[in-house]
Symmetry: C2
Subunit: 464 residues, 2 copies
């Protein structure tokens, strides 16, 4: 009898609790909300694809019940990381051509490889390979620019990952379009097809000012503005781009883009390295988002993005990996680490760009850069349930005195245990639930064998 | 009868094969020997603590047999990585104080924390935590400088890891010695105790020219030269060190060390950032080894090591992580990646410091920097059997066109599957065999709780 009374006394009033689709329980919840609230023993209730509640575990437990509970004990619960710039379809070229001049890299390897191999099938499998790497490393949203974005979108939708996908427009024949006009037609149809999709935001992506004629840039901007689509573009990445822009237009790349009417609050500029103070003010004025890609910028020796000045001016600067042909990983933990280190080093100031700022850039500020801040970037009621659980128990992250420092300087992509996008669990305890990992790796090996045979390499053992 | 005949026909002549203690079979063996031989389906036979043979798997299989065979299929077999500079005992301070000026970092956090917490017990557990991180990440040899190196040595010997361990001499009271004279006595006894040990090379470690009076530097050099011990010292790490040296001695740090007779072929200099061309020539002349520590140098904004010039001058430049209080990992895969990227970026030259050069720095050139090249750094007959097996099947490393590129830019410490030091398997399929991982993490949590309580932190959730 005592036993029964105890049971009744302790039983939770399940009938009163709201049923939800998913509860993430007992984690250290790093919300990245307006007050940067951190909940020590926190929990999140998810209904459909959105966050229904973020609270102490005790409060969530009292108010919600679910058949699906993810125990985040010993882990951090973070907003899913946002990769602000990559080319997923290039991951099958990972490591094909390193330590080369830009000219050799492009003309001897990348352009011929793209010409020869990039098909709908290639793009589909390369995107899957990239998603496999990124979901394993805690990235839930990605801004992508490449060709055949219809197939990229289909692969992402099937895997359940979130993307802002820009179909590339370029001033010469591309793998999916014989002419820029055909590419514009493809883009128009692509935007129409995916507009309003809960996971896929279709975008327009003129490659850069040095590869697109002015008419194409203007047509792209008009299309993006008419259809309220984001516009993705490489901006001021290399010294030659700045020189060419000054020579051709008498203006910096940013001032040129401003003059021809491309800059607007729907723009996401990748790299944004060769800027002067007026350019920084212009980007802030137009509410342009920027992607800082430290690994790629260092490896290709492109230069230093003035990320500190851009942030100080109020520009939303996210962090991107760039494609695996120039990084060679798509790992946001590495990029966060490098972002802080490159800024400190380049300014000879160990206080430049703190760990807390860098975590913002990879989450809520990255969401602003992608113009998706109403949907993702923080763990708040009503936002999409994009979240990751990160183990903190490894030797390399022990001890943990400061949560932001741990995320940026100590934790690694391999510590990500579970990845959820739009309320759907895509990786649980490191098992992939929507991607067929063995099939992807096998297909990658097949493509690699062909590519290896046609390009040869310098020191590869087995060409896998 | 046919069955029996077949069996006889196919049976290997086991009676003719030499018994060895360990065979690592079916890996892509990256030897880093004089010809940089890579064996596609290679194997290694180990007898005692040394390599008995490196050959094709077929040849090893024909000539050797062992009760212990590690199947390295799908993996690279590399020489164990050499961490050319760290302070293992500081890993319990990981992340305690980031994004601060050098002054605040040292005076508000590190010096008080060392004064309060660094004991023999602290050093023992912190060293274990560091070894856990490093062995998991493929590091088999480490050059360490700190206090209580007797206890560091004992912990390493028990775990089976290789080290060049320098007892720190400094011009003020330290955690283990009330006076520099006491530290010299400790060092003398430490060197005597460990001299000739197969795993532990005892060393003398005057901290730097700005913390040691000249007499102490000279006494340290005399002791090291008399006992034929390595001498480890921080050299030209920060601008203030260069300024102070010029002010006090009218010389750069390197020229000052040369003038007072410290430089010799037993010296390993950490950092070596603020060098002029004469300094580079001087370091080459004395056959001084150097440690390049890119993460630490970037995070603390110390400056750029002229690694390319040093290598061109023939100086052995290894790669080090520095301590976890300033990195915050001890991860040689991250350091390799950063070494290449920092040099390319700083010189605006994507061809500066190739992946192949970086792998050399982390293996055979690192061994030269530690003056251990006769023992370790490559997979060659007669050398110590220090090797690692690295999985290549993860999405983030797929495809692999070039083995050195994959090691530096794509593979991660989490890909290390098995770690062998001196023929002894210390980690197999990621299980630690000589370190009690749960006990180490628990003890780290205990220390962290105390340290957290006394220092507080800024944004930590639970203080673990």
């Amino acid at each position: 009898m005592i036993c029964c009374l105890t049971a009744v006394f302790h039983a939770k009033p399940a009938f009163a609790r709201q049923r939800v689709d998913l509860i993430v329980a007992h984690g250290t919840v790093v919300t990245m909300d307006g007050t940067r609230r951190i909940l020590d023993d926190g929990a999140i209730a998810v209904q459909g694809d959105a966050i229904a509640a973020v609270d102490s575990n005790a409060n969530i437990d009292a108010r919600y019940a679910s058949d699906k509970v993810i125990d985040a004990r010993g882990g951090l619960v973070l907003p899913g990381l946002i990769n602000a710039h990559t080319h997923m379809s290039m991951s099958l070229f990972r490591g094909l051509a390193d330590d080369l001049s830009l000219d050799d890299w492009l003309n001897k390897y990348i352009f011929p490889a793209e010409h020869r191999y990039v098909t709908r099938d290639f793009v589909t499998w390369s995107t899957r390979l990239s998603m496999l790497e990124m979901l394993r490393g805690g990235t839930t949203t990605v801004a992508d620019m490449y060709y055949f974005e219809e197939d990229v979108a289909a692969a992402m939708k099937a895997a359940g990952m979130r993307g802002v996908l820009g179909e590339t427009l370029i001033g010469f024949p591309s793998p999916d379009s014989a002419t820029p006009a055909a590419a514009l037609t493809y883009t128009e149809s692509f935007v129409k097809h995916w507009k309003g999709d809960p996971l896929i935001t279709p975008a327009v992506a003129p490659h850069s000012i040095y590869t697109c004629p002015e008419t194409l840039l203007k047509d792209a901007a008009a299309l993006a503005q008419r259809d309220q689509a984001p516009l993705l573009i490489h901006v001021a990445e290399a010294p030659f781009e700045l020189e060419k822009s000054r020579h051709d237009h008498g203006l910096t790349p940013v001032q040129y883009l401003s003059r021809i009417g491309v800059l607007a609050p729907n723009v996401l500029g990748a790299h944004c390295i060769w800027l002067d103070q007026a350019d920084v003010r212009t980007l802030a004025h137009f509410d342009v988002g920027c992607s800082y890609n430290p690994s790629s910028n260092m490896k290709t020796a492109a230069g230093l993005m003035p990320a500190v000045e851009l942030l100080a001016a109020g520009v939303a600067v996210g962090i991107g990996t760039d494609g695996a042909a120039s990084n060679n990983n798509q790992d946001m933990f590495e990029e966060m680490d490098l972002a802080a280190k490159e800024q400190k080093f380049s300014r000879m100031d160990p206080k430049a760009l703190s760990a807390a700022q860098v975590v913002e850039m990879a989450t809520i500020t990255g969401a602003r850069a992608l113009h998706l801040e109403r949907q993702v970037g923080s763990l708040e009621v009503g936002k999409k349930a994009d979240l990751i659980v990160v183990d903190t128990g490894a030797a390399h992250a022990t001890p943990m005195y400061d949560v932001y420092s741990a995320i940026v300087y100590a934790l690694k992509s391999s510590d990500v245990r579970t990845t959820v996008v739009g309320g759907k669990v895509l990786m649980e305890d490191r098992r992939m639930l929507t991607l067929d990992e063995p099939a992807i790796l096998e297909k990658a090996a097949e493509y690699a064998k062909q590519i290896h045979a046609s390009f040869g390499t310098r020191k590869s053992p087995a060409g896998r």
